[in-house]
Amino acid sequence: MTPRRRRLLWVLGILVGVAAAGGLALRAFQQNVMFYFDPSKIAAGEVKPGQRFRLGGMVEKGSVQRIPGTLEVRFVVTDFRHSVPVRYSNVLPDLFREGAGVVAHGRLDANGTFVADEVLAKHDEKYMPPEVARSLNQGASSRTQ
């Protein structure tokens, strides 16, 4: 092989490799990217049926209900304009509490209940995820208008 042809082969090989890796990564990305919706966006019908997404908002006061002796928890997430009931049956994080911001991963079921498979909270209890803060802010300001 001449050095020139060898070089061409190299470049081609690398290009194919990079393209394959990029394609696969993009596919994984498209399949697994999770969009964030707040209760208002859900009420507006922006969520596709069966779509897995992140729900953010505030845990409504007095809404947390347990079925005693089981992991089953129900609570309501609100952005002060709309609310979504949430069902969860795993261990809740330490910082989960009423009146605090929360982010949950899951899907809507047929009745409009959000079935969460993961509920997140941060180490720092003074912290609010920025997207949740934004949702709540819009909700709060739209109410005062």
Partner: protein, 665 residues
């Protein structure tokens, strides 16, 4: 009074860093010998005053001086002395100080080994380090002064965040910082080489031990962080693809590529401009990580309190440092041409593949980490990507990379071919495949498709790493430190791969609500919740459960997971109980009282998880072994002295006899 002393010391350090930067960068240009001579002195001074500032703050923590705001917010008189010291880096301001101290330490190390380098080159490198120090000192003094007073003083402090009251946390940040701040030396050397307009590859020889050392620290630091998150955050995860983790992982990936491409550049004079770019990128990613962690642009479980004004400052600093370095690169890299050729099966081409695949891996992580930001910029809505994206995408470049490691280790330079290592490699592959299948189908049932592949690769890499040392030992040939270090590091990689394969495919995790006496089956283990009791600790109260674990009717261990509520901050914390073992970890964590006498509990079985951290530790040991060996043999000084052309340091030529092969004519 003492506190103000610390503040003044920091200001003096800032001025000395400015002097170090100015004399280091202007001296060689204006050809002033006395300016050059001033550089190391300024660097030493900067170190002394930074250390003094740190000492003052540590003293304030030790004597519980709650008139210092930072101390009042992050310590408490009830806190044990050890944690009062480590509370220094418990929050933003103090950890910036630690960052600066670590940078000053690396700078001192460069000063100490300066005589091995041409005077001008060392001055320029120190000058670049001075610019970095200056930027971070200015940042700290202007936006995050750890010496700010609280008036009136607090009677007691607000306590250290409970998750940080932990021995692993105590050493995790310093080691992690030693790692990614350490890449600043490689960055500085790359900038110095470009500023000088060098055409040779001697800089690669000088840069190599520094980069390998920083890489070893970073490997260790990331592993420690993962271990800490595993047992301290309570829920048994060891890697979350969280932005903060990614911020240290991206420099590690590029740093790994860098130490491999440095080998090619040093030995063969190839990939010069590429190596320079990697050296710039590795540290740039460290800086970018600092920005992401401290500006609040990305959501993370670990991030510091968000403050966009700090973000603007760091961003401006990024523009100066990274923008400047890349501009320099665009200007000077084109003249660093490499002319030598190599064959397809040569060491060079394997290392080229290594670099391409590691860069792709870094790009995958980078893309996933910044995707939320990019989507935000383009108005695509708020989105997030998690392990479902990272895990499969990361494997795409990783699997071929791992498959090439055993071959690359033994491929010969230039002409290529595996030589006499071919046969043992083949045998090793066969044995590894048999062992892997036995493990995947015999010991750990229910494998994924990838399980036997991952296990084969892991075991093959381990065997391949041993071939060279063993054959040299049999023939009583000397084992050069570089080869030994490489073998150890790759052995660690194999251990790591083996561990992660089985952790990923055979972990069993279950959340369940149990009343005392009830049990759950986790794999072959029976976890029985035996009840619990209220407890009271020195600065917390809580509940302690008892979980008995048995296997096939035989008791294995008893775990005591806890739920604690810390008085001062009122924070609730889950303290998981773990029964560690080289072959498996068993974990029990308490959720909460779910009524009707039951508690929610999380149980986990994770096979071989210790191998992940053990592997990373072995990799780091490999790196340190290589560096110590190079130093002991005094390889660097003799090479450096040949580099200095006759006519004194200021007349140092850009070329050298040794480097002429790769030079451009």
């Amino acid at each position: 009074m003492v506190i103000e002393l610390g503040h003044y010391a920091l200001i003096l350090a800032l001025l000395l860093a400015a002097a170090q930067a100015f004399f280091g960068l202007a001296g060689p240009v204006l050809r002033r010998e006395r300016w050059l001579a001033a550089v190391p002195s300024a660097a030493c001074g900067q170190f002394v005053f930074t250390a003094l500032a740190v000492a003052v703050l540590v003293h304030a923590f030790i004597v519980n001086d709650f008139s210092v705001r930072y101390v009042a917010e992050n310590s408490n008189s009830a806190l044990p002395l050890f944690y009062r010291v480590t509370a220094l880096w418990g929050a933003h301001e103090g950890s910036m100080l630690l960052w600066i101290l670590v940078l000053a330490l690396w700078t001192m190390a460069v000063v100490a080994s300066m005589r091995r380098l041409p005077v001008e080159f060392a001055a320029r490198a120190l000058g670049v380090l001075g610019v970095i120090s200056f930027g971070f000192l200015l940042f700290t003094l202007a936006t995050s002064n750890p010496f700010a007073r609280l008036n009136p003083a607090a009677p007691d402090g607000n306590d250290l965040n409970p998750v940080l009251q932990d021995p692993a946390f105590a050493i995790h940040p310093p080691i992690l910082y030693m790692g990614y701040v350490g890449f600043s030396v490689g960055f500085a050397f790359a900038c110095a080489a470009m500023l000088e307009g060098r055409r040779d590859q001697l800089w690669a020889r000088w840069m190599r031990p520094w980069t390998v050392m920083a890489w070893a620290f970073l490997s260790c630091g990331i592993a420690l962080g993962s271990w800490w998150a595993y047992y301290e955050l309570g829920w048994g995860g060891f890697w979350f693809w969280d932005p903060v983790e990614n911020a240290s992982f991206m420099p590690w990936l590029i740093g790994t590529a860098l130490i491999h491409s440095l080998a090619v550049t040093e030995k063969r004079g190839l990939f010069k401009s590429w190596t320079l770019l990697l050296a710039v990128t590795a540290f740039s990613l460290s800086l970018l990580g600092t920005f992401l962690v401290r500006s609040g642009v990305l959501v993370s479980v670990h991030s510091f309190a968000a403050d966009p004004s700090r973000g603007i400052f760091i961003l401006a600093f990024l523009v100066v440092m990274i923008g400047g370095a890349l501009l320099l690169y665009a200007w000077r890299a084109p003249r660093m041409k490499s002319a030598a050729g190599f064959d397809l099966m040569s060491r060079e081409s394997f290392l080229l593949f290594n670099n391409i695949l590691l860069t792709i891996a870094a790009a995958v992580v980078f893309g996933g980490t910044l995707a939320p930001l990019i989507a935000d910029t383009l108005g695509l809505g708020t989105l997030s990507v998690g392990p479902p994206y990272f895990n499969p995408s990361f494997l795409v470049p990783m699997l071929p990379l791992l498959a090439l490691v055993p071959l690359g280790m033994h491929a010969r330079w230039k002409r290529g071919g595996l030589g006499e290592a071919g046969r043992p490699l083949l045998i090793a592959l066969a044995v590894a495949a048999v062992l892997a299948l036995a493990l995947a189908f015999g010991v750990y049932a229910h494998p994924l498709t990838l399980t036997p592949i991952g296990a084969t690769l892991g075991i093959w890499i381990m065997f391949a790493a041993l071939i060279d040392p063993l054959s040299r030992w049999r023939r009583r040939l000397p084992l050069p430190a570089g080869v030994l270090g490489m073998s150890i590091a790759h052995l660690g990689l194999g251990v790591f791969v083996l561990g992660i394969t089985f952790v990923q495919s055979n972990t069993i995790e279950r959340d369940i609500a149990l009343k005392p006496g009830e049990s759950a089956q986790i794999g072959s283990y029976t976890f029985r919740y035996l009840g619990g009791e209220d407890i009271e600790g020195p600065n917390y109260e809580g509940f302690r459960g008892t979980v008995g674990i048995s296997r096939g009717g035989r008791a294995v261990t008893v775990l005591h997971p806890e739920k604690r509520r810390y008085w001062v901050q009122g924070t609730v914390q889950t303290t998981a109980a773990i029964a560690p073992g080289l072959n498996r970890d068993l974990l029990a964590a308490l959720g909460e009282d779910v009524g009707a006498g039951a508690w929610s509990l999380r149980f986990q079985y994770r096979p071989l998880i210790r191998l992940i951290w053990l592997g990373a530790l072995i990799m780091a040991i490999g790196g340190v072994t290589a560096v110590l060996g190079w130093r002991q043999r005094g390889l660097a000084p003799s090479d450096a002295s040949t580099a200095i052309a006759p006519g004194g340091p200021l007349g140092a030529a850009t070329g050298s006899p040794a480097g002429s092969r790769g030079g451009v004519s």
